[in-house]
Subunit: 163 residues, 2 copies
Amino acid sequence: METNTNTTLQTVITSEELLAHWQGHRNLTRRVIEAFSEKDLFNFSIGGMRPFSEMVVELLAIATPGIKEIVTGKTAAFNEDINHENKKEKLLEIWDKTTEDINAYWPQIKPEQFHDTIKSFGEYEGTVWSSIFYFIDNEIHHRGQAYVYLRALNIEPPFFYER
Amino acid sequence: METNTNTTLQTVITSEELLAHWQGHRNLTRRVIEAFSEKDLFNFSIGGMRPFSEMVVELLAIATPGIKEIVTGKTAAFNEDINHENKKEKLLEIWDKTTEDINAYWPQIKPEQFHDTIKSFGEYEGTVWSSIFYFIDNEIHHRGQAYVYLRALNIEPPFFYER
């Protein structure tokens, strides 16, 4: 018993905390999607970059498939073919489905798996933890870009620290 | 011995890995600072946001003082009064000094400290781990904004995945 207690206490972050951390970020990203008008979500861009909708498609193509791969050990090619019909409502619907799917798959990641070496989407080598951190960091990175889009559109983005 | 081995193997991320992860991000941020001309670093902005130099000052004001607080337990008010003389070279010099300081303080964080509750800068309550994650996430967030500035300036930013 004491060993278990110490293990938890000496852990930087637990698996459950990492899930909550990510879903907190995903909750913020959802509100950033909502802050755009449908037209700007699918069309507005700066400096030849993608509209935010296309970055969101990338995030959706990474999240569930990335975690599913870790859990099942079955690799699939990266696939951004997501049918959002150019509708904000549809994109949010897929976002919410992804939230549920991540929550369903996550508890199947075994604690001893986090330092295993994997190749996400058959291409990107790393450990399970570094891959998951990449998924989260990549979301923060692109959402930060969406903040500039919103500011350029004269829209106040949600507070970064509210998750 | 076996208990220790299992503890490491079942950890999502070790303290040393988290440090390397952050310094990898900081290395990328340094290259993003370098990618700006001095004039644009201190002046260019979009949508009424701060120039990237001011965001960098925020990151510098958080990094060493934030970790120092965790290690020493001595709280200090948040202070962005950093003397960069409006020079890119000076900002990079302070950046590199911060890299060394973080490396020096970090090993003094005790493993059992990561779940302690703290109040960063006497204001922001969280655990040690959530505070450090905030420092890192906030850096990724603002650096993502700098990517849009660079693209708007027709400058190719460094690859996000190269740390």
